[in-house]
Structure formats: C-alpha cells, structure tokens
Symmetry: C2
Subunit: 114 residues, 2 copies
C-alpha cells in the first residue's frame, strides 16, 4: 500500500532548512561577533579589528564582504577627504539582534568565563 510518499521514515524531517541556511553564514568564525559589534552602532574597519580581539584583518575583511553580500550589513563610503568607510547593520541585520542578545544572555548563564 503506497503511502503519501515524499518521505520515508528514515529521511524524515530532522534538520531545519532555514536554520541550515542561517548557519551557513553564522557558522563561520567571527560572523556572529562581527554582527554583535555592529549592534552597538556603525564602525570602521580598523575600529572593528581593534574591538574584536583575535580576528585577523583578512578574515574580518572576508566576513564583512559576506555579510554585506547577504544583506545583513551595509558599507558606506564617505568621500572625505579624508575618505572614511563605515559598516552598519541593515534592517535585516537588526532583525537578527534579538536572537543574538538571547544567545549572549544564554552564554552568561550557561558558559563558564574564559
């Protein structure tokens, strides 16, 4: 007797496609922290590099590109002189902040310091 098809017991739903998509971004080193840093307000490259202890310039640069491409942050160039660049959260990026805040709170309660 044929069942409604489209899934066997085995293949059945276990991982959430949306979560998987989210973690294709967030599951990369520093993505989450970069977003959290920008939550405080817009910042320049050097400022972020100094603020986020441990990230290398090359990776920071890559993350900023990825997150910009994904529409979570925006890069703005103010043609000075001197020319300045600043990164800030877009609406999409800001929409993620409640979740990050919750993660932060969770870590305070459930992850040991250092």
């Amino acid at each position: 007797m044929a069942t409604i098809s489209s899934h066997d017991a085995d293949t059945c739903r276990r991982s959430d496609a949306a979560l998987t998509r989210a973690f294709r971004l967030l599951g990369k080193r520093w993505s989450g922290v970069v977003l959290g840093s920008l939550n405080v307000g817009p910042a320049g490259f050097r400022e972020l590099s100094r603020a986020i202890e441990g990230v290398s310039d090359s990776v920071l640069s890559e993350r900023l590109s990825e997150l910009t491409k994904a529409g979570l942050i925006a890069r703005t160039v103010d043609a000075g002189p001197p020319v300045t660049v600043s990164y800030e959260l877009t609406e999409s990026g800001r929409a993620l902040m409640p979740a990050l805040d919750q993660i932060s709170e969770w870590a305070r309660e459930h992850l040991p310091q250092e």
Copy 2:
C-alpha cells in the same frame, strides 16, 4: 583628572564577551544545525549523520564531543544488546533553543532559499 580607568575611548566596549564565548562553539561548522536537529528529540549518531545533509562523520563526531563537553548535549549508552548510543539536549542545551528558533524564523524571512 583621572577617569575611572580600566578603559580608553579606543579599547572601549564593542564586542560582548559572552557572545564571543557562545560563538566559539556556535561559530563552528554544523554546531548550530546539530543542536537544532536534537531539538526534535534524542537521536543516534547514524540518524544525525543521515538527517544533517552535508556533514561528514568525522566532523559530526567532533561536534558531538565538543557540545557534550560544553554541557549542551548528553551522550547516553544503553548497553543492549544491541548497544545503542543516543544524544539529547541537556537543560543548558534546551535553554538555547528559543534563540535558535528565532534565528530559524529570521532566516525564513531574510535569507533566500537554496
């Protein structure tokens, strides 16, 4: 006039220590997705490996160890026979789920499919 010390304008608060701690775990490939999969209920290694499309056995094994060590999931061995192993969220792990749900919802609204 000496200020309260402990921070210059430059070094000043930008990245959240708790968030950084959280993403030392979550900012690794597959961590978030593994947790999300376990949200549905306990599962064995093979079941997870099948459910989470794209993860390799070696990485899954490593993530499960890390997350177990961090106290987010628990590994239980039922000495059969046949012996079976199952992984499930601890209370700490469950406490993170609201945040993951929010991320998933965010992705549904802000990240394109595929």
